[in-house]
């Protein structure tokens, strides 16, 4: 019943792990050869794989787990998907409906534990509910602001035989996703932006989710407005475009932050305007007279920044509604764009490369030269994530995947595996620090089992680099519990899992190691022993305003 329903929804791939409370589903799985199942090594890995799959191809990722510990191991993965609005369906086994509430073996309140990290969830205690629930779940996960939906199915329901029930028409009284933009507001927004002396557009993940990149570009070019992106919005606007401000936020580029802090009209599209974007909220974009906020989720309006013009709408529909109303941009716009160019010259991205150590930026620059925009990069969390965000010039959507909102260490490897299943034609590079990598390293077995072309770039600095940098810079220089000297030999670890790996200590070895990775079919690991003191710049000190960004030391 469950599997038939998934086939009807067009599911081809499931990431999962069997156990006592989902045995009936697994018993029937071999009878459904169209459903490919990937056996993971830990349920968190399944959730991140489904997440990476969904981010890479747009279809919802599907996860199976058993009750109790199996389902609870999904929680971090659900939260990661929830924070970043990624469509996912998690199907968990629950104890028999007659056992619920009796503290049965491997029973846990999965709905209770996951309510705050799912868009919606169901407990199914009767077979009659199942076809409607599964159909609704896919609808809810993939429409409006996407997100994970969990279906907790009692074991006796999984076993129940039922006539194949025709799918009911969807009538969900409490679910009406937003779409169309209010035309008056769209016109007002277009006029406000075009009339600005110093406009800035910031684009978030919502632009990618609604496939509005072309509309954003047309809008920006016609309005002569510079565009920055959030960390999750990378790819929404080409970094090489003359109007690009690259990444915003407290680790954004200097010219982006200068532009935001001096803008008179700021338009924020498909983004939550969270604390990593605003830094000190009271000092965020202080010269703005008109904030324009476009988001499909009405609760984002005024949650952090109160807009003067709000459009609760899909990003593409909003931009399409705005473009025809764009008047000729202000003549003085040339001055503003020249000013931004001057800031770009004055505050370029730079890094230390004279201390004899291998620099992470050199690794990423080499990678970019060989891949250009023909590969997917999946980053983990921490310094590696920001380096990967800043040192590639992503010019197309869907090439950079990372856990932005939740900041989940251990995301990269399983998400890269999921992305490779989604986009087998593209090279997939997993960029991770050694700290996050070992949190989900067991999924190497999945990459080896399926001989996936996932190239692992380990930026190994023998420490929790981002935490170490924060301790050095913002917590009195007290280095506390960040030393990771005692880690496995990663080349031997790769060998133990059955994939080739090499170690790189010197700049001159980057190219040959990358060549070897590219030549090798199947997974490959490179343990880059990078400068243990390498830092992320620019960075805004915690609690400070975007004006106060620090740049890399000039050497």
């Amino acid at each position: 019943m469950v599997l038939e329903a998934l086939e009807r929804e067009g599911v081809e791939l499931i990431f999962g792990y069997p156990g006592g409370a989902n045995l009936p589903i697994y018993q029937r799985l071999p009878g459904h050869p169209k459903l490919k199942h990937i056996l993971v090594r830990h349920e968190q890995g399944a959730a991140h794989m489904a997440d990476g799959y969904a981010r890479a191809c747009g279809k919802p990722g599907v996860v199976f787990a058993t009750s109790g510990p199996g389902a609870l191991n999904l929680v971090t993965g659900l939260c990661t998907a929830y924070m970043d609005s990624v469509p996912m369906i998690a199907i968990t086994g629950q104890v028999n409906s007659t056992q619920v509430g009796r503290d049965a073996f491997q029973e846990s309140d999965v709905i209770g534990a996951t309510s705050s990290v799912t868009k919606h969830s169901y407990l199914v205690t009767n077979i009659k509910q199942l076809p409607r629930v599964i159909h609704e779940a896919f609808h809810i996960a993939t429409t409006g602001r996407p997100g994970p939906v969990l279906i907790d199915i009692c074991k006796d329901v999984q076993q129940a035989e039922a006539e194949s029930v025709p799918r009911e028409r969807l009538e969900i009284a409490g679910y009406k996703p937003n779409g169309h933009a209010d035309l008056d507001q769209a016109k007002a927004a277009a006029i406000a932006l075009a009339g600005a002396e110093r406009p800035v557009v910031l684009a978030g993940h919502g632009v990618l989710l609604s496939h509005a990149e072309a509309q954003l570009r047309e809008f920006a070019e016609r309005a002569a407005a510079p565009v920055g992106t959030t960390l999750l919005g990378i790819g929404a606007f080409p970094v090489n475009h003359p109007l690009s401000l690259h990444m915003t936020g407290f680790m954004g580029t200097g010219w982006n932050l200068k532009a935001v802090q001096n803008a008179d009209v700021l338009m924020m599209v498909g983004m939550r305007v969270d604390d990593r974007v605003t830094a000190k909220l009271a000092d965020f974009a202080p010269k703005v007279k008109t904030f324009i906020h476009i988001d499909i989720d009405g609760s984002e309006m005024g949650k952090n920044v109160r807009p003067q013009i709000e459009l609760v709408a899909d990003a593409k529909q909003a931009l399409e509604a705005m473009i025809p109303h764009l008047p000729e941009p202000e003549k003085s716009r040339g001055t503003w764009l020249a000013q931004i160019d001057a800031w770009r010259e004055e505050h370029p991205l730079r890094y230390t490369h004279s201390n004899g150590h291998l620099q992470p930026q050199d690794v990423l620059i080499d990678m970019y030269k060989r891949c250009r925009n023909e590969a997917i990069v999946v980053a983990d969390v921490g310094q590696n994530q920001i380096w990967a965000a800043l040192w590639w010039n992503y010019d197309r959507p869907g090439l950079f995947l990372n856990s932005g909102g939740s900041g989940t260490m251990g995301f990269a490897l399983p998400a890269a595996i999921g992305a490779k299943f989604a986009r087998p034609e593209l090279p997939v590079w997993c960029v991770a620090g050694e700290g996050g990598f070992v949190m989900t390293a067991q999924e190497l077995s999945v990459a080896v089992e399926h001989q996936l072309d996932v190239k692992i770039v380990l930026l190994n600095n023998f420490s929790l680099g981002m935490v170490r940098q924060f301790q050095d810079d913002f917590y009195g220089g007290v280095r506390s519990q960040v030393d990771l000297t005692h880690m496995p030999d990663f080349v031997k670890l790769a060998d133990a899992y059955g994939l080739p790996g090499v170690r790189v200590d010197k700049f001159s070895e980057i190219g040959p190691a990358m060549d070897a990775a590219e030549r090798t079919k199947g997974p490959f690991l490179i343990d880059f022993r990078i400068d243990p003191e390498a830092n992320v710049y620019p960075i805004v000190p915690l609690g400070k305003s975007l004006n106060d960004f620090w740049e890399a030391p000039d050497k």
Binding site: S115, H120, Y122, I140, A173, G174, Y175, S299, K303
Partner: protein, 156 residues
């Protein structure tokens, strides 16, 4: 908790096993605080009417309605704060005194009486119920239970 941070909401929800925990979960997670909650059937089958008084904490005032609207179990939310409302609360009390005239004059209804005391009920807006409870103290109140308010827009 200052009064001006309190929102009064009338919420139509699905009658289901997860609904109340999801509503209260959102309120907790967003840093709001429930001051009163009243649940009862609505005229539409399968739907319940919740009346909530919620302190919105450090969040913007409109976040209470917006966050509740995100729940699939929630069909409709009306933020009635500041509107002209009928707001009615119920109190039931057991008193020792045999002389009930003071309470009955205020509009109390006698539910039960015996040699040892009486049980009365009273309905009114928040202020009236407060005054009634004060009055009860002069009658040797033994036990008192109060509901939260149910509200309806006042129309001409």
């Amino acid at each position: 908790m200052s009064d001006n941070r309190v929102r009064v909401l009338s919420v139509l929800v699905e009658d289901g096993p997860n609904t109340l925990s999801k509503v209260s979960g959102v309120i907790r997670r967003r840093g709001f605080h429930v001051l009163s909650i009243t649940v009862g059937p609505s005229p539409e089958p399968g739907l319940l009417r919740l009346t909530l008084q919620v302190d919105h904490g450090h969040a913007e005032a409109d976040q209470v309605r917006k966050q509740l609207e995100r729940l699939v179990e929630v069909v409709e939310v009306e933020d009635l704060t500041g509107h002209d409302l009928h707001s009615r609360e119920l109190v039931v009390a057991r008193v020792a005194a045999s002389d009930l005239s003071g309470l009955l004059e205020k509009g109390a209804k006698l539910l039960h009486s015996s040699a040892t005391g009486a049980t009365v009920e009273f309905a009114g807006d928040g202020g009236e119920v407060g005054e009634f409870v004060d009055e009860l103290k002069r009658h040797g109140v033994k036990d008192v239970v109060r509901s939260g308010p149910v509200v309806m827009r006042r129309t001409a």
